[in-house]
């Protein structure tokens, strides 16, 4: 019932987003373009590096590109729904959180919906395309269950993003000073798309258990790569997703509690 209500709100907010964007059409395309350029840059890095070496820690170029294609899918979905980069400034410093709290809907849902960013979704489709091309180049077999597994993996990865960044945004409830943790996490997330084996133990541990960004790229993608398939880690993706998502929700709720002066 509540979820249905929130979903119905999504349609309304989306409609308002589209109306807003129609007034700034040129910006819309610049945004789409810059998102795609960003992905192109990362691919360029991979291509340039592979002009100098045949493999990256035993991973071939097509395999690394395959992982990158997967990486783009959950990231695009996450960016569409959780565009919280300026949460602290807009909602805490400028006080818009007060308005959110005088409205009869879940506070996190409202904040997320007010910032929907559908152009990011284009990145997901491009990622799917890249994955498809790499799939063919690697000559991987295609099973009937692969699309289903992909959906489960992507959902798990999206939950990891949502949980981590929601928790991060909730930090602003505790301190309105810029923390710089946003860029920190953003930086680290980018290492999840390279073969985890190339890093040393410390970074591997960090990417697997502390800020589990290996689960938004290399682990779930490895499920489809026969040569590097690590089924255990791959199947942990939805599990870790649920755990991190729950943590994000808990941190958000306690942050709101603190904002309203009920905590501590």
């Amino acid at each position: 019932m509540r979820i249905a209500f929130t979903l119905s709100l999504f349609r309304e907010y989306l409609a308002n987003y589209i109306k807003t964007k129609l007034t700034y059409r040129a910006d819309f395309w610049v945004e789409v373009l810059s998102d795609l350029m960003f992905s192109a840059m990362n691919l360029i890095f991979i291509f340039v590096v592979f002009t100098h070496t045949p493999s990256l820690g035993d991973w071939s170029e097509a395999e690394v590109v395959f992982v990158y294609g997967y990486f783009m899918i959950p990231y695009g979905i996450f960016s569409t729904f959780s565009n919280l980069w300026n949460f602290s400034e807009r909602y805490i410093t400028k006080g818009e959180m007060d308005r959110i709290l005088t409205r009869p809907a879940n506070s996190l849902a409202q904040v997320m919906l007010e910032n929907v960013d559908p152009p990011s979704l284009i990145g997901s489709f491009v990622g799917l395309g890249i994955m498809g091309v790499a799939w063919g180049r690697l000559g991987l077999p295609f099973h009937w269950y692969d699309p289903l597994v992909l959906i489960v993996m992507v959902l798990g990865s999206v939950l990891i993003y949502l949980g981590l960044y929601t928790a991060l945004a909730a930090i602003s409830f505790y301190s309105d000073a810029p923390t710089g943790i946003g860029p920190l996490i953003y930086n680290i997330q980018n290492y999840g798309r390279y073969p985890i084996q190339i890093y040393n133990k410390g970074i591997r541990f960090l990417l697997t258990w502390l800020l589990p960004f290996a689960f938004v790229g290399v682990y779930p993608a490895s499920f489809f790569l026969e040569r590097h398939a690590d089924r255990t880690m791959a199947w942990l993706t939805p599990v870790v997703g649920l755990i991190v998502g729950a943590i994000g929700l808990i941190v958000w709720n306690s942050g709101v509690k603190r904002y309203r002066g009920a905590g501590s």
Partner: protein, 341 residues
């Protein structure tokens, strides 16, 4: 039934201290110091349904904090609140469907799209059914004359137009209580009057309870039958506007213009023995404040009967503005105690 029932309400905040200078900033890097500030100090008041109540006080007196607690944004440190039969900070989502809130300096409308789109979205958020929404919107649009504005984006509206739209946005779901935080701030006199008329009508036709904070005492005079005055987190006056005038407007001022230059000592000596207060305006002009217990004529006769030659006399009755200023200036606890009765 009471619309708002507040009992021994208190709110404390922890405030970070920033130490001064480079050394202070370096120290702050490692250890922060906090101080506790009590914004609202055990206040109690009751507002029956259908009343328009003004909530006034200087900046930092605790007005906004109280409003935020009443609207469910903040959770009180201690005390009891009951608004519309709900405890605002519990069951927040259920509770806020019965109230309307306008923060004068913050918009609740989408900046880039037509006003009507924001209204439609709010209809969804508050789950108002289509027929009710249409009826309500038509009524509001007509009384506030917004027909031509509905399709304009908010950023193209003047402040007055925007404020009228904000009111609509807050009233679409037929709240029985309306909270207004500085609703007329920055508006010109014509728009202010329009908004006051609208609020009066709303209160009369729908019995909407209204609690508003304001710095503009004209708002209070025009709208409120009752005033709650806050100073440093405490209620220093709670009662009718007329009563406030009567109790505090207990003095009058008389201005004398003399033909020759005078000194404050000289004029004060004329009324020695009487409990009056002289102030000098310029070389030849002085004002005397006379409390209600004294007869103005007693003072007049003394001054007029003296050797000083007078060219003009004016008598002033104090207005609300001055009363309020006077209350804040004297600020002594006895004076406040006396007001509370």
């Amino acid at each position: 039934m009471l619309a708002i029932d507040v009992n021994q309400l208190r709110k404390q905040f922890k405030v970070q201290k920033n130490r001064e200078g480079l050394k202070g900033a370096m120290l702050d890097l490692f250890k922060r110091e906090h101080t506790e500030v009590t914004a609202v100090k055990d206040i109690s008041f009751q507002i029956p349904q259908g009343e328009i109540c003004g909530y006034i006080g200087e900046n930092g007196a605790g007005k906004s904090t109280t409003i935020k607690m009443l609207t469910g944004i903040l959770v009180p440190t201690s005390g009891r609140i009951l608004v519309n039969g709900y405890v605002p900070y519990k069951e927040r989502e259920e509770f806020v469907r019965g109230i309307g809130v306008v923060f004068g300096q913050r918009s609740q409308l989408w900046w880039d799209i037509g006003v009507i789109e924001s209204f439609r979205l709010l209809r969804k958020v508050y789950r108002v059914d289509e027929a009710d929404f249409k009826r309500r919107l038509d009524e509001l649009v007509e009384t506030l004359q917004l027909q031509d504005l509905l399709n304009r984006p908010v950023r193209k509206l003047s402040l007055g137009q925007r404020m009228r739209c904000e009111l609509v946005a807050a009233l679409l779901h037929q709240p029985s209580i309306l909270f207004l935080d500085e609703p007329t701030i920055g508006l010109d006199i014509v728009v202010k009057t329009e908004i006051r008329e609208f609020l009066k009508r709303l209160n009369r036709d729908h019995g909407t309870t209204i609690l508003l904070t304001t710095h503009d005492l004209q708002d209070i005079e025009a709208l409120c039958s009752r005033v709650i005055m806050l100073d440093d987190g405490r209620i220093i006056y709670d009662g009718g506007l007329e009563e406030l005038k009567e109790r505090w407007g207990k003095g009058r001022e008389v201005q004398f213009q003399f033909t020759d230059p005078i000194s404050l000592d000289a004029v004060s000596s004329l009324t020695s023995g009487l409990d009056v207060r002289w102030t000098k305006e310029n070389e030849v002009t002085a004002k005397v404040w006379i409390p209600r217990e004294l007869n103005v004529s007693d003072v007049l006769s003394r001054v007029v009967g003296s050797a000083a030659e007078i060219s003009d006399i004016k008598i002033f009755e104090t207005n609300t503005d001055e009363i309020v200023r006077e209350i804040y200036r004297t600020g002594s606890p006895e004076a406040k105690e006396a007001v509370r009765g």
